[in-house]
């Protein structure tokens, strides 16, 4: 067996166990820093309350209660903002030499990033379910049956998983913790706000509508909204899945090749 083939087969053999080791390590961080989990939980709860009670009365959502309109978008918002932590975390690991250690080990090359993004995905699952619970207390309801009620949070988490890879790529590229805090964050604002997340796209000026309509957040939010409240699902869903697939293909490749080459 050639050396290259040996490398490849060992990559496949160990990708899952190695990924799980890194996932375990990343999850422990939250267990060890409970205050981090508490504060990263308080913030979205607070935002959900503020958005609903401050803007709720002013935004015209065509008859539906604002929380019913807001919560699906809020789930997407939570995972997109949450994904920015990956770039900071990876930049931190890089600057502390931990990535060097991992790269000098005979472990699967994709495992460090895969483990990290998987741990983040577990975090999103927790946050999304928590938001659904808080939203329910504020009057949000699933009106569309059991399967869509399961699919809605699932799509939000999957969307977050894809965005975590963008964030991982940014972290591996800027390499510096402070830069990662800014660079990992700034691109998220237009994506989150110039979408159907908080207000209907029709209410925006034409040029912004053009952006909001192609923004991956819009079809994802629209799908989740339809899954929760009823309405056209499939046309939004395939757009959203196409975005998720495309983002994953591009950024998994980019991030892993960064990881392999980083020097």
């Amino acid at each position: 067996m050639s050396a290259r083939a040996a490398t490849r087969s060992s990559e496949f053999r160990w990708i899952i166990p190695d990924t799980l080791v890194i996932t375990w390590r990343s999850v422990l961080r939250f267990v060890r820093l409970p205050q981090l989990l508490v504060f990263s939980t308080i913030q979205p709860v607070m935002l959900l309350l503020l958005f609903n009670y401050v803007f709720g009365g002013a935004i015209n959502t065509g008859g539906t209660k604002y929380i019913q309109y807001l919560l699906p978008g809020f789930l997407v918002q939570i995972v997109v903002f949450g994904s920015t932590q990956a770039s900071v975390g990876l930049a931190e690991d890089l600057s502390r030499g931990i990535i060097d250690r991992f790269r000098s080990l005979p472990m699967a090359r994709a495992a460090v990033l895969a483990g990290r993004t998987l741990a983040d995905t577990l975090r999103y699952t927790f946050l999304v379910l928590l938001m659904v619970a808080v939203g329910s207390a504020m009057g949000f309801r699933f009106h569309n049956g059991i399967a869509p009620a399961i699919a809605a949070p699932l799509l939000a988490v999957l969307f977050g998983f894809a965005f975590t890879w963008i964030s991982a790529f940014i972290g591996m590229t800027v390499k510096d913790v402070e830069t990662a805090q800014v660079a990992g964050f700034v691109w998220v604002f237009p994506i989150v706000f110039a979408s159907s997340m908080f207000a209907p796209v029709d209410s925006m000026p034409g040029w912004l509508q053009a952006f909001a309509k192609v923004n991956p957040v819009t079809p994802t939010t629209d799908t989740i909204r339809a899954l929760c409240s009823g309405g056209e699902i499939m046309s939004h869903l395939w757009q959203s899945l196409a975005w998720i697939g495309g983002i994953l293909v591009v950024f998994v490749t980019l991030a892993i090749s960064r990881y392999r080459r980083i020097a």
Partner: protein, 350 residues
């Protein structure tokens, strides 16, 4: 190639070298970090890469540890090419870098178990090995505490332990004792010496000449990306350390000129006299034989001696004569460079 290196290599000539590099070149933009580095390290020996900061020491280690690709040249670990057989090389090496690369949020034991699993030792072996290493590196008491609470010395020991988890036959230590207090440093030296006794091959970089002198069978002095001299510590001191010096300190500084005049009659070489301190340095070939005569003649002219010593060349002298800098000056310069880098968090080291 100096004699010292060859003579030590001969009895092992039939063995495959543990580490070989040939014509390694690496540039970062316009900066030439490595300019044709060739090294051979025999199995079971310690090679120290000695050089000022920015000389290219870390770059050599990073290439050998598969963390960085050279622009050109060849590097092998136990006969395996670091580029084509990187995965094999990774299973044969342990690496301890300049920063203690341990996870702050885990305990010491968890850190080592994680590394053991990533070396694919299996759960129970990883646990067993973690326990052994914590014991032998004197971390057993702190094993289940978060690394956050560890002192700098403990972190370094844990980092070293992590590199030893898989009992690697080849160990790379990049400035393993930088920033440690003297006691921790000596403790780490003992550990490294013990590993070498067990057959481990070590390539280490250091700015501490004492460390190289104490641990290394061979020293390669590196500057501006080139190996400028290599050989055993004894060979280097002989070839490049300069002469044996007779060093005198006079009780009365005002007698410096007179003292120098008397010493001149011993005429081995140029006297260095410092009237500020009353210090006189005279290169001598036959140090001990002229010593009584020196004292007699000075005494006869009424020159009182405060201190007298024969000083053999140290690695400091070697370093100074080869690089034109003292080790301390270059490490201060290096520290300044590092600080500047840290603020930009530029982690590319040379």
């Amino acid at each position: 190639m100096p004699d010292g290196a060859e003579s030590a290599a001969t009895p092992r000539a039939e063995l495959q070298p543990a580490i070989v590099t040939e014509g390694l070149y690496k540039s970062f933009g316009s900066v030439k970090a490595l300019d044709g580095v060739a090294l051979v390290v025999q199995p079971g020996t310690v090679m120290a890469l000695l050089g000022p900061n920015g000389a290219g020491k870390t770059t050599v280690i990073r290439i050998l540890a598969t963390l960085m690709r050279p622009d050109s040249g060849r590097a092998e670990v136990l006969g395996h090419d670091v580029l084509r057989e990187a995965a094999v090389v990774r299973s044969l090496i342990g690496l301890t870098g300049q920063y203690a690369a341990v996870d702050e949020n885990l305990t010491g034991r968890e850190n080592l178990e994680m590394v053991g699993r990533l070396y694919h030792l299996g759960g129970s072996e990883a646990r067993k090995r973690a326990g052994e290493l914590l014991e032998s590196l004197d971390l057993a008491e702190a094993a289940d505490r978060g690394v956050k609470t560890y002192s700098g010395g403990m972190r370094r020991r844990l980092d070293l332990a992590a590199s030893l988890v898989a009992r690697p036959p080849v160990l790379f230590l990049d400035e393993p004792t930088t920033g440690l207090d003297p006691r921790s440093r000596i403790g780490l030296w003992d550990t490294i010496a013990g590993l070498v006794k067990g057959g481990t091959t070590v390539l280490l970089t250091t700015q501490y000449l004492e460390e190289a002198d104490r641990l290394a069978n061979h020293i390669a002095v590196i500057d501006h990306g080139r190996i400028i001299e290599q050989g055993t510590p004894e060979y280097l001191k002989e070839c490049c350390g300069g002469d044996v010096l007779l060093q005198l300190r006079l009780s009365d500084r005002s007698q410096t000129a007179l003292g120098a005049e008397i010493l001149a009659t011993f005429g081995d070489g140029k006297i260095r006299a410092d009237a500020e301190t009353g210090q006189l340095d005279l290169p001598v070939e036959k140090g001990t034989t002229i010593l009584p005569e020196v004292i007699r003649r000075l005494d006869a002219r009424g020159v009182a001696i405060y201190d007298i010593a024969l000083r053999r060349p140290t690695l400091d002298d070697v370093f100074l004569s080869l690089t034109g800098r003292t080790a301390e000056a270059s490490s201060e310069e290096g520290a300044a460079v590092k600080k500047g880098r840290k603020s930009r968090s530029e982690r590319r080291k040379t």
